[in-house]
């Protein structure tokens, strides 16, 4: 399945970045036909990507998908096996790390433990022809920027994880790099600090206008922070797009499954443009699929609309009924997750498969949905997505 979308032995992959819209005609960072293999293991497979100036891009994927390898190739820390990288009109493919132009923040912070916060930030500024006063002024400015002016004389071990992360960020941007690389910068922090720092980093990035690439395995983080998300799996780019595009129109089953939750059903395309799931026909867009094609139909739990026991009354109110996609389902399990209810339904029309649906607290109360009850739910036509059947 994963090969189907992304591995075409044709030159089209080269232009994929351009196909995907938002990049300007000459990207600030351009990666072409990049491969990385370790012996027989291929970690990156024909990667091509363009990133515009000032853009905030997230590399998102499960662990081992190659996102960190790609970042390290851009940084010159792990040379690619082949392929070229251009940054700001300069071919940096084989330049050593020290001759490239970037600042980097690692998950471990990598702050020098024996230097004070000030010395840490000043590390990249010294030795560059700046006077002591200039360095001190720049350090003070950066400390101010990350809001840690009071801590300049402390050692890293005396700061909290979130504070250390901000110092690492300050150190990375001290030399005003053209590119900021963030390698899972937030994953070592606890949830509250993480959400807080997310906003701070994003705000700082906007203020500085620095082109930024962040590697993360946390889809929420990527959705919240990125201008564009590069979803990767098994060393290939599955999809590049804005957070809403990625979420609403996942190009592959992998993307659909990795971002957000999914219900998946084996489905067969019928000659009349409908699909058969279980023993029933459902309406959905079937563009690009021949009649009889074996597919996987996907619908997100949040997209399922509850109509309650008095279904007819409900859909006569707001939306036109689509009888084919209305099904009766028995509520098996209800799990209260705070902001919504997660329910597990069984529907005879889906061949008694379990359907997971998330209902708002409001809807559950209004429609009096309860365990053991039978309700009618709708799978909206345009939210039922089809993918070629996985192998």
């Amino acid at each position: 399945m994963r090969h189907a979308m992304s591995i075409e032995p044709t030159p089209t992959s080269i232009h994929r970045a351009a196909d995907q819209g938002t990049t300007p005609s000459s990207p600030y960072l351009e990666i072409r036909d990049l491969w990385k293999s370790y012996g027989d293991f291929v970690a990156l497979r024909d990667i091509s990507l363009g990133i515009g100036k000032g853009e905030f891009v997230c590399f998102l994927g499960p662990s081992g998908c190659g996102k960190t390898t790609l970042l390290r190739a851009i940084a010159g820390l792990d040379l690619q096996t082949r392929g070229v990288i251009w940054q700001g009109g300069r071919d940096i493919s084989i330049l050593p790390a020290s001759k490239r132009d970037y600042g980097i923040v690692f998950q471990s912070y990598a702050l020098f433990p024996n230097l004070t916060i000030e010395q840490n930030i000043a590390f990249g500024l010294e030795n560059t022809g700046r006077s002591k006063a200039e360095v001190a002024a720049r350090v003070a400015e950066l400390l101010e920027t990350v809001g840690l002016s009071a801590h300049g004389k402390k050692y890293p071990a005396q700061l909290s994880g979130g504070q250390q992360q901000r110092i690492a960020l300050a150190r990375a941007i001290a030399i005003s790099p053209g590119l900021l690389l963030l390698d899972e910068p937030l994953s070592a922090l606890d949830a509250k600090v993480r959400v807080h720092l997310r906003h701070e980093i994003k705000a700082l990035q906007r203020k500085l206008g620095v082109t930024t690439i962040m590697v993360t395995h946390d889809q929420e983080e990527a959705l919240a922070m990125a201008d564009r998300i590069v979803v990767m799996n098994h060393g290939v780019i599955e999809q590049v797009g804005s957070p809403t595009e990625i979420y609403r129109h996942p190009k592959t089953l992998f993307v659909a499954d990795f971002i957000g939750e999914t219900n998946q059903f084996p489905a067969r395309v019928l000659p009349d443009g409908q699909v058969e799931i279980g023993h029933s026909a459902f309406c959905c867009p079937t563009d690009g699929f021949a009649a009889g094609a074996a597919t996987t139909a996907v619908v997100r739990p949040v997209d399922i609309i509850p109509h309650g026991a008095e279904a007819h009354a409900v859909h006569s109110l707001d939306r036109p009924a689509t009888p084919q996609n209305l099904i009766d389902a028995e509520v098996h399990v209800m799990e209260f997750l705070g902001m919504f209810w997660r329910t597990r339904l069984t529907a005879p029309r889906l061949g008694d498969r379990t359907l997971v649906a998330d209902f708002s607290v409001n809807a559950v109360r209004r429609l009096r949905i309860e365990t053991g009850g039978v309700i009618q739910v709708e799978i909206p036509r345009e939210r039922l997505l089809l993918y070629p059947r996985g192998i």
Binding site: L79, K99, F106, P113, A157, A172
Partner: protein, 668 residues
């Protein structure tokens, strides 16, 4: 279809443009790699080839012609072999010789008279056949003519060939081959005894609430600070022919297996103790709580929780002790009597009989168990997984009067053994004539009146220890830094690491002998360091390289691997990161390497015993030589001087590290 391009299409592999840093690092690595090759690889190789070289006079390779009295008419040419067959002057077994062998040609001419007018001609049948005229080497197939007076001074040189003849000789000499059995037996017995005692002590220190744990810990590390000769000397005083406790042995002699085992236990105990102590101190209290909640008996808890938890430590300690005993030279030299041990055999062959080839054979044989033990130990270390997870709860022993009392008594007993040996040497060093005249005296410290090198030897030892500590720390740390932190050159780094691990498996005697072969060769450009302090420093650094290397590596591994990446991204040269961050953070480890090298340079005998010269005699070797000469009390006195020096060095180390740490490690 997708399978077809599963691999990157064949294209020229990219090479990263090398930065200046990379070149500098590469240069450093080459220098230190070269050091290890010159100081370890090449000498060992030369030694190995020596053990396989046999020397034999090849009589068929020489031809003679004899003239008549006028010197004008020549008889037909005849080979030395033919002459010998006719005359039988050299028996077949006497043709085997060593690299220094010489055979006078006049033997083959019974009528030879150096006053006769007869002339002789000699030539080689092959280009390699060589003979000496006086001290001039002649080679080749051209005839050379000598009058009788000159022919008297012609001697044949042996031809060398590769083969296992030396080993055959070794194994057919019962006195030599028996040493293998003796050495393995002594090492095995000592290992069992030492590891048992060390385990009991470590157990007492970690699992009981006995008092004075810190003191016991200190006492148990004392033997590291003295040469292994010292327990031998103490045993001579305690149980020797004039020993106070001689009767305790019930007629058995301390000179031999008994002395070797007791002395070995003494000097290997701290090594085993520290390893097992480390293994036992990483106990997880939750395992003990689980055992208690399952109502396991004390014994069952011991056998199912305590012992398995420490099993890698036990195995590791066993290998370390075995290797130390089988390769030790000082102790069996002093106390071994007529009991042949491999390490002493090397010394006897080389120093006593000047039979370097046989010394090399014994060295190769001694390498086998040491390398084997080393290899098995490394494998075990790799299998060891971190027993202590991050959430482990440290074990805190509970009071138990009977158990604590028993542990305390045992620790006292072992401490008494250690302190008793040291005290015996101290007393011997300070009294006139043990045990008959116990008047205190300082005459035993008048080293200048004895053989062995006098106070100059002591000064040399301190010089050697300081130089070794300084240069050793620099070389070892720089080397470990290259192995751990340089990127790329993967092959070079793994070769380097292998070389760095090797000294652990090479006994000191073997290294010393290998140095003779390698550096005492006039053709070697480094020949000039032979007989100087430099070769002693090089040898000692190399001898103790591995442990120091591992210490440095451990310290470096604890550093965030991304420091280098950050440094590069900030466009800072690597040396700036090295001096501002790496070095200060690793300072405690470097100081530990320094003191380790210092102490060992003070106490080592085995490697340097082959390499010292008249003006570079060492204190530890002086102990050996004075003991050899019968000056046992001065030997004890010199041994005690080494002990005091090491104690002082340890104290200085403690003070310096504390001072430096306070200044540079404020962040800790």
């Amino acid at each position: 279809m997708s399978i077809a391009i599963d691999y990157a299409p064949p294209a020229r592999r990219l090479r990263q443009q090398a930065s200046r840093d990379d070149l500098v690092k590469l240069g450093f690595m080459a220098v230190i790699g070269l050091y290890l090759i010159v100081a370890l690889g090449a000498p060992l190789f030369v030694m190995l080839s020596k053990s396989l070289s046999t020397y034999r006079f090849d009589l068929s390779a020489f031809e003679f012609q004899v003239s008549d009295e006028t010197g004008a008419n020549w008889a037909t040419a005849v080979t030395a072999d033919a002459l010998n067959k006719e005359l039988g002057v050299v028996a077949k077994k006497d043709l085997a010789t060593n690299s220094d062998g010489r055979l006078a040609v006049t033997k083959f001419f019974p009528q030879f008279n150096f006053r006769s007018p007869v002339h002789y001609r000699i030539r080689g049948v092959t280009d390699d056949a060589a003979f000496l005229v006086g001290s001039t080497l002649e080679k080749g197939t051209a005839w050379r003519e000598y009058d009788s007076a000159a022919f008297r001074r012609v001697v044949l040189r042996p031809a060398s060939s590769l083969g296992i003849e030396n080993f055959k000789t070794y194994f057919s000499t019962p006195a030599l081959a028996r040493s293998i059995y003796n050495s393995v037996l002594m090492a095995s017995i000592s290992t069992v005894v030492t590891v048992s005692i060390a385990f009991a002590l470590a157990y007492a220190l970690t699992r009981s609430c006995m008092p004075l744990k810190g003191l016991f810990r200190g006492i148990l590390t004392i033997p590291i600070l003295v040469p292994s000769l010292l327990p031998g000397i103490a045993l001579v005083y305690l149980f020797g022919n004039q020993g106070v406790f001689r009767d305790w042995l019930m007629g058995y002699s301390i000179y031999g297996p008994i002395g070797i085992v007791i002395g070995s236990v003494f000097f290997t105990l701290p090594h085993a103790f520290l390893i097992i102590l480390t293994a036992l101190s990483v106990a997880d209290a939750r395992h003990y709580e689980a055992a208690a909640s399952l109502r396991a008996s004390k014994w069952r808890t011991f056998t199912t929780v305590t012992v398995p938890g420490a099993r890698y430590g036990l195995v590791s300690a066993a290998f370390v002790v075995f290797t130390l005993v089988i390769t030790d030279f000082g102790l069996p030299k002093v106390i071994g009597g007529q009991y042949g041990m491999l390490a002493v055999d090397i010394y006897k062959q080389v120093i006593g009989q000047q039979n370097f080839e046989m010394g090399a054979v014994v060295s190769v044989i001694l390498l086998v168990p040491a390398v084997l033990a080393f290899a098995v130990d490394r494998r075990m270390q790799k299998r060891q997984v971190a027993l202590l997870s991050a959430r482990a709860v440290p074990y805190a022993p509970k009071r138990n009067v009977r158990m604590d009392g028993f542990c305390f008594a045992f620790a006292c007993l072992v401490s008494l053994f250690i302190l008793g040996m040291i005290a015996m040497c101290q007393i011997a060093a300070l009294v006139k004539f043990w045990p008959y005249d116990l008047t205190l005296t300082t005459k035993n410290f008048a080293f200048d009146l004895m053989d062995g090198g006098g106070w100059a030897a002591y000064a040399n030892s301190i010089k050697l220890a300081l130089l070794t500590a300084f240069f050793g720390s620099v070389i070892v740390f720089a080397g470990a830094y290259m192995v751990e932190k340089a990127d790329g050159f993967r092959f070079g780094r793994s070769v380097f690491h292998f070389l760095a691990m090797m000294p652990m498996a090479v006994p000191g005697m073997v290294l010393g002998l290998a140095y003779i072969f390698f550096f005492n060769n006039p053709a070697n450009p480094l020949n000039s360091i032979y007989g100087t302090m430099t070769i002693l420093v090089v040898c000692t650094v190399t001898h103790f390289y591995t442990v120091a290397h591992l210490t440095a590596l451990t310290a470096l591994k604890q550093m965030d691997p991304e420091f280098e990446s950050v440094g590069a991204s900030l466009k800072q040269p690597f040396h700036r990161l090295f001096f501002r961050v790496t070095l200060p953070v690793c300072l405690p480890a470097i100081l530990n390497i320094g003191i380790y090298l210092f102490v060992n340079a003070m106490t080592t005998v085995s490697a340097v015993v082959f390499l010292y010269a008249a003006d570079t005699k060492l204190a530890s070797v002086a102990v050996l030589n004075m003991d050899d000469a019968g000056d046992i009390a001065p030997a004890a006195a010199m041994g005690m001087m080494i002990f005091y020096t090491n104690v002082v060095a340890k104290l200085i180390h403690a003070v310096v590290s504390r001072g430096l740490l306070a200044r540079t490690q404020a962040w800790r």
